[in-house]
Structure formats: structure tokens, C-alpha cells
Amino acid sequence: MAGFDKVVTSYEEAMAGLEDNMTVIAGGFGLCGIPENLISEIKRKGIKGLTLVSNNCGVDDFGLGILLPNRQIKKIVASYVGENAEFERQMMAGELEVELTPQGTLAEKMRAGGAGIPAFFTATGFGTPVAEGKEERQFNGRDYILEESITGDFAIVKAWKADRYGNLVFRKTARNFNPLAATAGKITVVEVEEIVEVGELDPDQIHTPGIYVDRLIQGTFEKRIEQRTVQPSSTAAGE
């Protein structure tokens, strides 16, 4: 590795330095655009006591859900967690701390964290359980609550393509939280489907500049589909 070249060649190297009780921010929405191999590496390392920040927590045997059976997650900050039996069991048993956070607030917490903004006011959640213990303030006659931003010891991100400098391009709705997570990690690790040479990506088309990326690895992906909804080919009208 030299200069701006972020490429590493093993998942062990990609997640080196991750220790017990760290905070990890993960990209992905449901099972779409999740850094599936980086998650597997966390499982393999057997790291425990993690605080995870992610919109969801995977399913029982895929995504972040695979970190549950060995009790690797201490706390999760998420907006929606209902797809996972072991998660439910650990939450009901009080073995897993869950901080439910509105989806837009979660996205903004990552964005602000990565942008050096410690907190922001939002109307989202005012007058609800989310507002408990938070500062409230009126602007122009409307009520807002103060939400603190989030940064992580690590951020784990899935992108489609990258150049060796870590400039990233995402694909379709697999983008979701990934660009935000990428900005908010002290160490940001990105796995991609394809790494190209520097200069091959059009600078105008880069979604996340390489400055946010510390380590980059090329992987192969299962890309499991959570809700497979189709229409018969014969009735497809096309949009």
C-alpha cells in the first residue's frame, strides 16, 4: 500500500484493529447494500460487546443477524428491527440493548457525525418516546428536539465500484446509508464488487470521494433478497 492506494487483499487485514466494545457503523437497508463479508469477518474474529449503528439488524442467518448467536452485539441503534427471531429473543430477555431511532434522524446522525456537526435540531420525534431526556426548543413557533450525531470506531460500507484511491460509486438503492456511514468512521472499510485503476472513474460520477475511505477490498457477494416480489413476464407493461 502506498500513497492514496487503499486496497487491502484480505478481510483479516480489512478489519484489523477492531476490538471488543467498539462502535461500528454499518451501511445497508434491510439486506440491500450490506457489507456482508465484512460482517462475516467480525463474526470470525469473535469480537464482543459491540455497539452497532445500522438501520436494521439483518435476518437470523444473514447480515448483522449472524453476530447475534454468539452475543457479539451489546447494543444496536436502529430504526427497524423486526425481521429476526434471535434478535427478538435477546431484546425481550434484556440481553441486547436497543435504541430505536427514526430513520431520517439516524441518517442525519451519521451525516452530521461525519461532517463535524455534534448535534442538530429536528421536529422528528417531538412529543414521542424518542424525545425523552432530550433538549427541546422552538424555532418560528415549531417544536424541535436536539439529536446528537454519531461517529464510529469503524464504519463498514458496501459500494459497487471503486478505484484504488477509494473513490466510490454505489448502485441503485444499495446506496442507502452507505455514503453516510463512510463519512462517520474513524476507520472506514469499504468492500466493493470491482476495483478499477485510478482515472477510470469519471470524477463527476463519484458518490463518495476517497478521502473518507481508509481500506478497500474487492469481494464476492450473495446479495440475498428479503422480499422477492415479481409480476409475471406476460403482464409486465414496462414503465
Partner: protein
């Protein structure tokens, strides 16, 4: 007769306007997409980062990287755009979405909505619902008027933890179309064949009834 899920969606679709950007929640709201009038262009926003959601794909065109907020595989309509989650909620929170349709457990006469949590039961989370109700000016809540046991869901005060405070102005149930203002429910329309008396019986919060309550037209 109480409206079917499809009829609720059909009545909501009458509130669409040409050129509207619309966010549809999971369940009945999703069905509204099936009733967009042919002569109208409406663009669907999916909060996971897609503006211009299309139909379901075929087996040949299915793409794991392209889903909606309900995690269903979808396609993109012509003119669609893709963005990250912060941008998506900037649209929502910033009031750029013209109409939001979502479900609820309870709504009260002060415009409060409870839709994400029943204490003691499994708590799955609010997803984007809190942002949607806080950010949108034009919201229609769709739900059944009362539970299967005849317990009203239109209350003087919500009993469940709130998703949003004072943010709901219109509710479409299987029995009635209702506006909320000045701390009261106002009956705008009734489902075909449903009597005003029946609606009164199943509305716990204060209900203002005009002299003439028209039946919904389909």
C-alpha cells in the same frame, strides 16, 4: 358497507394531483399506486432512496440492488432518481413531498398519531414513520375505524406511544373520511351505505357532523 382495503386506496387516490410526489407507507397505502388515474403523472418516493418507483420486476429483471422501503424488489420508473438516506429524509423532513399516506393504530382529535409501538408486545421500530409525519404537511392516514372488537381508533387522546404530535389533519377509514381541526374530528364523507349513526357509535373522540354528509363517490 365498510370499504375494502382496495376501496380505501381508491378513495385516497382521488386526492392525488398531476405532478405530485407521493410517499406511500406499507399496507393499504401501497395499494394507492394501483389507482393512479391514467391521465395523471405521479412520482412515488421510497424513503430508502428512490424517487420514481416503478412496478414489480419480472423474474428476468429482478435486481437485489433495487428495493423499496418495504424491502420488496421493484423497478424504476422513467425519470427516476437515486440518492442516499440523508438526502431522502431531507426531501421528507424539508416538506418537499406533496402527499404522504400511512397507516396507524390510533389517531386522536388533536392530530396525534400512534402507529409504531404497542407496549408489552414486540417492538419493531418506527422506521421512517416519525420523520414522515413530522415533515409532511399533507398527510392522509388510512386505517380501520375501529378494532375487530368494536373499539374506536379515533380517540380524544391516543393511548399508545405517539409517532407524532399534532401532525394529522385527514383520516380515511373503512367507514368515513374525516378532517381534524380545532381539536375535533369533522365528518366529511361516509362510505356508501354506512350510516352517520354507525360512524358516531365507533368514534370515541368528539365528532362534528354537518347537516349533509355525502357518500363517497367511486
Amino acid at each position: 358497507m365498510a370499504l375494502s382495503r382496495e376501496q380505501i386506496a381508491q378513495r385516497v387516490a382521488q386526492e392525488l394531483q398531476d405532478g405530485f410526489y407521493v410517499n406511500l407507507g406499507i399496507g393499504i397505502p401501497t395499494l394507492v399506486a394501483n389507482f393512479v388515474p391514467d391521465n395523471m403523472d405521479v412520482m412515488l418516493q421510497s424513503e430508502n432512496g428512490l424517487l420514481g418507483m416503478g412496478q414489480f420486476p419480472t423474474e428476468e429483471t429482478i435486481d437485489a440492488d433495487l428495493i423499496n422501503a418495504g424491502k420488496q424488489t421493484v423497478t424504476m420508473a422513467k425519470g427516476a432518481s437515486i440518492f442516499d438516506s440523508a438526502e431522502s429524509f431531507a426531501m421528507i423532513r424539508g416538506g418537499h413531498v406533496d402527499l404522504t399516506v400511512l397507516g396507524a393504530f390510533e389517531v386522536d382529535a388533536n392530530g396525534n398519531i400512534a402507529s409504531y409501538m404497542i407496549p408489552g408486545k414486540l417492538i419493531k421500530g418506527m422506521g421512517g414513520a416519525m420523520d414522515l409525519v413530522a415533515g409532511a404537511d399533507n398527510i392522509i392516514v388510512t386505517m380501520t375505524h375501529a378494532s375487530k372488537h368494536g373499539v374506536s381508533k379515533l380517540l380524544s387522546n391516543c393511548t399508545l406511544p405517539l409517532t407524532g404530535k399534532g401532525c394529522i389533519k385527514r383520516v380515511l377509514t373503512d367507514l368515513a373520511f374525516i378532517e381534524i381541526k380545532d381539536g375535533k374530528f369533522h365528518l366529511l364523507e361516509r362510505a356508501p351505505g354506512v350510516s352517520v349513526a354507525e360512524i358516531i357509535k365507533l368514534t370515541e373522540g368528539e365528532l362534528v357532523i354537518p347537516v349533509d354528509v355525502p357518500e363517497m363517490q367511486f
